[in-house]
């Protein structure tokens, strides 16, 4: 019976990171929503305004972290959900690969966008 279980211990780290990112996200997501819908109304968003915010290094870093945390949290959540539903074997590996590629793409694209917003020269 016991041999049915693999000996390495996945999940534990993922589980913890899911909680840590969640805790971080609560704060930032609330801030983000508040900022863009209540302080600055979404309808009034302009590139100039965005640029002004992004040029602040603190804000920039926060947003990048927000992106990474959100992506990890969301993608890891989706992955866990699928695994919990009984995904295994090659299928599982394929899904993991696709998700990792998608997240990396999302993060790269996101950072690229943020840099553009901040007015950093992109080659």
């Amino acid at each position: 019976m016991a041999e049915r279980y693999s000996s390495f211990t996945p999940g534990g780290t993922g589980w913890l990171l899911q909680r840590i990112t969640a805790a971080f996200l609560v704060v930032v997501l609330a801030f983000h929503f508040f900022q863009l819908h209540f302080v600055n109304h979404a309808a009034d968003v302009t590139f100039a305004g965005t640029q002004a915010r992004m040029e602040n290094v603190g804000y920039f870093l926060t947003m990048v972290l927000f992106l990474i945390a959100g992506t990890f949290h969301g993608v890891n959540g989706v992955y866990n959900a699928l695994v919990n539903q009984g995904l295994k074997g090659t299928q599982k590996k394929v899904v993991l690969a696709v998700l990792v590629i998608a997240s990396v793409a999302l993060i790269v694209q996101g950072i690229y966008v943020a840099m553009a917003m901040a007015g950093v020269e992109i080659v």
Partner: protein, 142 residues
């Protein structure tokens, strides 16, 4: 030997009438989680127009006619987008509140009140959503 009698998928989900608070919380949390990650991808896609704005004509940016600004403002002028935004808010607020509930559960705090805290997240979500409707629908017409 015993024969397997498969009571089917409904066994898991068809019994929704018999679900308890914890199960509903689980289902809603999943649902909202998926919505949020879906939105995150879309969001970044939309924001990507900023790249166009940044590399475009600086005067357009100054006058607020750059592609980024027009895209966003164009979207924001649609009533349906505003409604979707309210939906997104609801989803996010529930996910946050229930997420907090789950974090508490993970820390072993207030387990006895887990069903109450779920109902509380629902109610709070509803209140916050309703309260923010005016802000969200401000300045848009059908």
């Amino acid at each position: 030997m015993s024969q397997s009698y498969n009571r089917g998928l409904i066994e898991d989900f068809g019994r929704w009438k018999e679900f308890s608070a914890g199960m509903w919380a689980w289902i809603f949390h999943k649902f909202t989680g998926w919505m949020l990650i879906g939105y995150l991808f879309t969001h970044i896609a939309v924001l990507s127009t900023a790249v166009g704005a940044a590399s475009g004509d600086a005067s357009l940016v100054a006058s607020g006619d750059d592609i980024y600004t027009t895209t966003i403002q164009g979207l924001e002028s649609l009533f349906i987008v505003r409604v979707l935004e309210v939906g997104l808010l609801a989803v996010a607020v529930f996910h946050i509140l229930n997420g907090l509930r789950l974090l508490m559960v993970d820390l072993g705090v207030g387990l006895d009140a887990q069903d109450k805290s779920f109902y509380a997240s629902l109610v709070l979500t509803a209140i916050i959503t309703v309260a923010s409707v005016p802000t969200f629908l401000d300045g848009v017409t059908l």
